[in-house]
Amino acid sequence: MDDLTMVRALLDAAGITPSETELAAYAPEYLTRRASVDALYAVPQARYTDPALRFRAGARLEDWAR
């Protein structure tokens, strides 16, 4: 699948339908971006590491307005 088709499919799945001009501009970046993201999976120290994400049971929403 070429970059343009891949990007079109990804954006379509997200409900995003850019113009053909914008889509053509987004597509060339996809491969470069994909390569750098794939490199994250090549970090050996991350193999058994917990992500920097935390979910707290019982958390409540609090209004920020002052």
Binding site: V7, L10, L11, A13, A14, G15, I16, T17, P18, T21, E22, A24, A25, Y26, E29, Y30, T32, R33, R34, S36, V37, A39, L40, Y41, V43, Q45, A46, T49, D50, P51, A52, L53, R56, A59, E62, D63, W64, A65, R66
Partner: protein, 469 residues
């Protein structure tokens, strides 16, 4: 001309100026320059003068709220303020979201007696470069209006540089405090993630956003941080870490400064960058610091992690509006937001795993040094033409080959950006001083020591010079 919060606070208490005089000077600066540089989205001149009169009356009665009492301050327009409006420089943001409400940081500024002069311009939703297709000003650099002032806290940076206020609030997700600080020739502090509550601020990256000050000096940034920092439970990421400014004695004896050069001097860097950086490091050494060369761990990975995290977290916020109001967004905003759709949920989680690894490695590095120094950017402010990408927006790849900020957002450490010289074209160059988590005192001490020996932070663009009081 009073240029700093510190000097203005002293002058107020010495009786050599008043808050009304400071505010009138700020308003005059805006009258002279705002139309050209697009600092403000919404000016609050009458409100500010009323608050200034109140501040003068309170100070005369001996009711002293601290160093920000009576000081003109700008607020980035993604942060809610009751006197609003809050637009995020966008047609899309629901005006009701921030209507009649103060974000916790705004409430703290008001309680400290700050005189808020207006809502400052920004990149749309803190991520999209404005153009002339929407009814908002295009922020421009007061050093050269054909160049970008940096963003996304563009108006806060240009406003401090132009004297429209003495300090202001910005936010930083990939560099948005430090980039305008660098390109506008002022100081900017990205505090440790979680030290300042970010509730009441339109989010760009929930795990990346930092609210912090821009001002002339490190000492001014410290004064603002004292007001902003501290627990607010409405922000689940906020921690109980209030801040007290350190003693600024200018003595860096015993401070170990790690100097980063790898990846920060690309072939297309400005020729003035290396000499300016070397001179800045020499100043720090003259103040007693021990200097050693270091390498940032996982540098490329943290830049990628910042982009992946920001893209995903931002797209979650904007997905419905992108689908229904595509044309109401700037082209550059759309180009940034769609990147969140080009990676998977697993990619996002992997980025968070590598962030944890990098944090640990960086903490180990900070066991060997107290502060890390590097350039903020490889160049002075770029022209708008040089940033343009085909299809609209900005060439993000080109931009972040020149700017060295996103690494620090990924790890959450505090970073201070300071002016350190000029390019041959007269555009400011900037130094970053990074500290360990919650290590703001060290970087502010180092920054202040640097500024006690240099005057880069006091230089004023010619555009603003004609308004000097």
């Amino acid at each position: 001309m009073i240029q700093t919060v510190t000097d203005a606070a002293a002058a107020l208490r010495a009786g050599t100026t008043t808050s009304v005089e400071l505010t009138r000077a700020a308003i005059a600066a805006a009258d002279a320059s705002d139309a050209e540089v697009g600092t403000y989205l919404h000016r609050l001149d009458e409100y500010a003068l009323d608050r200034a009169a109140e501040a003068d009356a309170e100070l005369a009665r001996g009711e002293d709220r601290g160093p920000l009492h009576g000081i003109p301050v700008g607020v980035k327009d993604i942060i809610a303020m009751a006197e609003g409006p809050t637009t995020a420089q966008s047609l899309v943001l629901d005006r009701a979201w921030g209507a009649d409400k103060d974000a916790p940081v705004v409430a703290r500024l008001k309680a400290a007696g700050a005189v808020i002069t207006g809502k400052t311009s920004t990149m749309e939703f803190a991520c999209g470069m404005p153009d002339d297709t929407k009814p908002f000003p295009v922020p421009r650099n007061p050093w050269n209006p054909d160049t970008w002032p940096g963003g996304s806290s563009s108006g806060t940076g240009s406003g401090v540089a132009s004297g429209m206020f003495l300090a202001g609030l910005g936010t930083d997700t990939a560099g948005s405090i430090r980039i305008p600080a660098a390109f506008c020739g002022v100081s900017g502090l990205m505090p440790t993630f979680g030290r300042v509550p970010k509730s009441g601020c339109v989010p760009l990256g929930y795990s990346l956003d930092h609210i912090g000050p821009l001002a002339r000096s490190a000492r001014d940034c410290a004064a603002v941080l004292e007001v902003l920092a501290g627990l607010d439970t409405s922000d689940p990421d906020c921690v109980d870490a209030p801040f007290t400014a350190p003693a600024f004695d200018g003595d860096l004896s015993g401070m170990r400064i790690g100097v980063v050069r790898e990846g920060h001097f690309p072939g297309h860097a400005d020729p003035a960058l290396a000499p300016a950086f070397d001179a800045a490091i020499a100043v720090l050494a003259e103040q007693g610091a021990q200097v050693v060369e270091v390498t940032l761990p996982f540098r490329e990975e943290m830049i990628t992690a910042d982009m992946v995290t920001m893209g995903c977290e931002a797209l979650a916020y904007h997905r419905n509006d992108l689908a229904g109001r595509w044309g109401d967004y700037y082209a550059a905003t759309r180009a940034m937001l769609v990147t969140g759709a080009m990676v998977s949920g697993a990619d996002y989680v992997q980025a968070q795993r590598v962030r944890r690894v990098a944090q640990d490695a960086l903490a180990a590095l900070f066991e060997t040094v107290d502060v890390i120094a590097a350039p903020t950017a490889a160049v002075g402010a770029p022209t708008f033409a040089s940033l343009a990408a085909p299809g609209g927006g900005i060439d993000v790849g080109e931009l972040f080959s020149l700017i060295f900020t996103p690494y620090w957002d990924s790890v959450g450490n505090p970073v201070l950006a300071l002016p350190m010289g000029f390019t041959g074209d007269g555009l400011p160059l900037s130094l970053q001083l990074a500290g360990p988590a919650f290590g703001e005192a060290a970087i502010l001490r180092a920054g202040d020591a640097f500024q006690q020996s240099t005057d880069w932070h006091l230089r004023v663009p010619q555009l603003a010079d004609v308004t000097a009081a």
